[in-house]
Symmetry: C2
Subunit: 262 residues, 2 copies
């Protein structure tokens, strides 16, 4: 299995604190030693850092920790390989261009006997995760050759995720840089930090941050993760089939199973 990390914020925010916690689980406090990746949106642009080695031993990860990249949307992943060997090509997140935007995807779980019909988007590596991402984009593109708003896409995306979930475990994060979508099959938690900000203490490393000194009163930052990253904050647990849509740190849509609600 793997661990996911997502962030949506209303101001460019660095993810170093959360990533520092997550990367310990990449071979130190957790078994996810088979690679890691972190994608930062900068406007429509995307920076993707990946390494098919344990994040706790990765030189690229250390660089990312010290180089404070600020972003409004981040998707991260640490991997414990099941389908597909340990290699760069099998390292999440995966990226494809759709309608002139960078779409980014990471998956926690495993799909059994998953072999979608070949389409325009095709996996480069061997993971079931990348195959699901390509299938999802092919479905979107088949229904909408031209760009539409995310609200029009949600039914397709949620239905597709429900379908993948029937093949196994499917927790995922998806973004096009404007919004961040999550789907929970088994494990996903969220926290939204806003004023008044307080201290947070990582569960996986000896690190505390005082968000008050690093933020302005207007900042809103939501973090999604497979398991809580801090030990002194209350994270909200998502249920099976629950999906959320975030924009600028705020939840703009949320639903469960076939029952979308806002």
């Amino acid at each position: 299995m793997c661990e996911l990390l997502g962030m949506s914020a209303n101001v460019p925010t660095d993810i170093v604190f959360s990533f520092t916690g997550l990367m310990q689980r990449g071979g130190k406090t957790g078994p996810h030693k088979d690679g890691w990746g972190l994608a930062f949106y900068e406007g429509r642009g995307l920076r993707l850092f990946q390494d098919p080695v344990a994040s706790c031993e990765s030189e690229v990860a250390r660089m990312v920790q010290h180089y404070l990249i600020k972003s409004e949307v981040v998707i991260g992943h640490i991997r414990q390989a099941n389908v597909g060997k340990v290699s760069l090509v099998n390292t999440h997140p995966f990226v494809r261009e759709l309608w002139g935007r960078n779409w980014c995807f990471a998956h926690n779980g495993q799909l059994a006997d998953f072999s979608p019909a070949p389409g325009f988007y095709r996996p480069v590596g061997e993971t079931d995760s990348e195959a699901a991402f390509c299938d999802l984009l092919n479905r979107i593109r088949a229904d909408f050759p031209e760009p539409v708003e995310v609200n029009d896409l949600l039914p397709i995306i949620v239905e597709a995720c429900q379908g993948y979930r029937r093949c196994g475990v499917f927790n995922c994060l998806l973004s096009n840089g404007e919004w961040l979508f999550s789907f929970c099959s088994t494990k996903l938690v969220e926290i939204t930090r806003r004023a008044p900000f307080g201290h947070a203490q990582l569960r996986d490393a000896e690190l505390t941050v005082d968000f008050q000194t690093e933020t302005t009163p207007k900042d809103i930052v939501t973090v999604l993760a497979t398991e809580p990253l801090t030990q002194n904050e209350t994270w909200t647990t998502h249920g099976a089939g629950e999906w959320t849509l975030w924009r600028l740190g705020e939840c703009v849509a949320r639903g469960r199973g076939d029952e979308p609600a806002c």
Copy 2:
């Protein structure tokens, strides 16, 4: 204008020496201060490092210099902006997935009044370069929905490059990780290093390398660049309309204008 850097090798080779020379031209010995990018293939996987700042001042560039990434195909670029503002989204190289492989492209030059028909692949940023790359992939995909060998593609690729060249200046590098293609409109040089290896002295920095101590007798490494990177070696200059195709460090096809030849 911009500067290009390409490498094709028969063993995974680090590009640090050449990149160290090139990055000086990104704001120090040259005016190309508007961003840089370096794409390394690792099998079918691709590592892409980019920064929309001068390479001589880039923290990511320093990390790439010290972290010896070895690759058989590399495409690099430093940018002096003409079309499109200075931002990550306008920073070369550009990447798209085609037929389940990562295709990578960088361009030196400028195209006037270039507005290709919209297709499946669409630019994320505003550069004429990314628009040309998308147009090239759309043409390939229109003629070949399913994968074909590069020899079958060469006529389409060369014809497209000739067309872009008629719109302005079009020097480019293109790769799918198996091969490296170049097209020269105005400026491109090449060098192939093989045994017996000697010393090389950069033109843009006080740095000499003794390739003999870093290679085996079987190594073959070709470097392509806008201008020679070393001062004590003989670089071969490409003519207007000349294209080359490299695999594992060796030239496997070469031609000029409408006259392909090997």
